[in-house]
Symmetry: C2
Subunit: 310 residues, 2 copies
């Protein structure tokens, strides 16, 4: 059993590779819900849906999120009704949010709803939200205090992030199954997601970080920073503006207390000694997942190393 | 100022004619909300939307409801997620329901929400729900107790209706403006809608029937039954199964306590004496609204008669 901590698009790519080389039933994914938000009265879970749609094989490959070939008739009509429509919601995608919102209003826990959706979408990996409780990420930025989606979508990640406020997670509990999935795993992998706004919120749920420290399983993380740059998204600029330095080394530092293995891209071979000085093993490999082959190859490297470590 | 009591499709046709010959601002429509229902967690007001879309010029002319050219991607996706999708909701139409549901959850009264939607849709007639309170019509039928939409859509009006239960309206109040629109009108017109399940629910809201009895304005109704048949829908069969007889005369009977004028179709000239014996004036005219000309012609006849009556 392999457990993966995941944000959105980068994690989804890695999981595609993993699900191609392992029976999907052996994979548990713990997903960030810190950027869940309400749009038009509907509960939207962007990272969960990105993972779910990707593993279901219906994701829009061009954007990395949403459903391939989806239309935007409802959103366009909402715009005409005067609604704010900066968050893209396709018509088929809306069905997911309608279903989720209706079930949550009926009192179903988010984890149960995700499980229902995954069954309908034919996703055989187990996808768990980090928590059934709301734990919205807030950002203090050069443009003021912002919700995650305001920063990420409306302002296109342009403001400098000065502080990531995860305090809303303080009163949350890990979703049922999350702690067990970490403790009982044969290996735990932190996907190449943004350490501050994708993985950080998961780690902020009380009990999860302790479980990562205490699990007998090896814990490995794949760097989302390559050659000082994020392949996608604002992770590099956020590391800078938070005073951490835009380097894979900074990511390893953030995970230092629970990490056994850190995976550097080939381009960052020179950083290996610095990471090792922090007491972690280092794998240096090709981490850019530009093809199905590359995704599976990275997944295979991870699994082989986990088997050696045990 | 003319006030019209309205159900869905038949009323919408008449209102199109009326809005073409009068300044729309002089028209108030009081609409049945007894068949409002929740689908996929969204509040749907079928009759209000039919009136609104028709007056906005966006209605689907083939069905008489919904938006012309609308797509059904979200509904199809909901079906794949296992939802019951017998109630047709187009993608653009969904935007209306999303907006309404969100505003209602924020605490806005239904009447305010309808007013906002009408403004966005460019509808200049004033559309009022009969009540801001829920007052769902229930039906006792040969297939058991049914909600309105179960009877109307799921079972395609096949069961015999044995009783129309409007008791849910007992605790409702007329929406703000409804009583005033009846009392202060220059004329009140009951549209050619089903008297039991479209007009009946409006009349069941405490205060509305009294206002119709007491208004100084002439009150006229157009028969929805022509030659013993309903042009559309189950009104004729319902009149039969409720033991009233499928005749325009039965409709006039139902309105007898507040009606001054009853409009019979040319085909029902023979019924004029029978209706007049109940103390009403009778207009006999062409009431089938098969063209824009026919709609306007009927509307003009009504307005002229109202002017004479005053």
């Amino acid at each position: 059993m392999i457990t993966v901590l995941a944000g959105g698009i980068g994690a989804a790519k890695f999981l595609e590779g993993l699900a191609a080389i392992l029976p999907p039933e052996q994979i548990t994914v713990i997903v960030n819900t810190g950027d869940d938000a309400e749009f038009h009265g509907l509960h939207v879970s962007p990272d969960i849906d990105t993972i779910m749609y990707t593993l279901a094989g219906v994701v829009n490959r061009e954007t990395g999120w949403g459903i391939a070939g989806d239309t935007f008739q409802a959103l366009e009509a909402l715009r005409r009704l005067g609604a704010e429509t900066w968050f893209q919601l396709g018509d088929q995608d809306l069905a997911t949010h309608l279903h989720r919102t209706r079930r949550l209003r009926q009192g179903a826990p988010l984890g149960d709803v995700i499980s229902e959706l995954c069954q309908r979408y034919g996703v055989r990996c187990r996808i768990l939200p980090m928590s059934n409780d709301p734990a919205p990420t807030r950002l203090r930025t050069s443009a003021g205090e912002l919700s995650f989606q305001e920063y990420f979508v409306t302002l296109r990640q342009q403001p400098e992030v000065l502080e990531v406020d995860l305090s809303a997670a303080e009163d949350s509990q890990p979703a049922p199954g999350v702690i067990e999935a970490i403790i009982n795993a044969q290996g735990v992998i932190v996907a190449p997601s943004n350490p501050m706004i994708s993985i950080g919120p998961i780690l902020a749920v009380p009990g999860i970080r302790d479980a990562l420290r205490n699990t007998p399983a090896p814990v490995a993380a794949i760097s989302p920073i390559i050659g000082g740059k994020a392949l996608k998204g604002p992770a590099d600029r956020m590391l800078q503006s938070l005073g951490l330095g835009a380097s894979a080394v900074s990511v390893a530092e953030l995970y230092r207390d629970f990490l056994d293995v850190f995976v550097l891209d080939d381009q960052d071979t020179a950083l290996q000694p610095e990471v090792e000085r922090n007491g972690m093993k280092v794998i240096v490999t090709q981490t850019i997942m530009s093809s199905a082959h590359a995704k599976q190859s990275l997944a295979r490297t991870m699994i082989e190393f986990i088997q050696v470590m045990r």
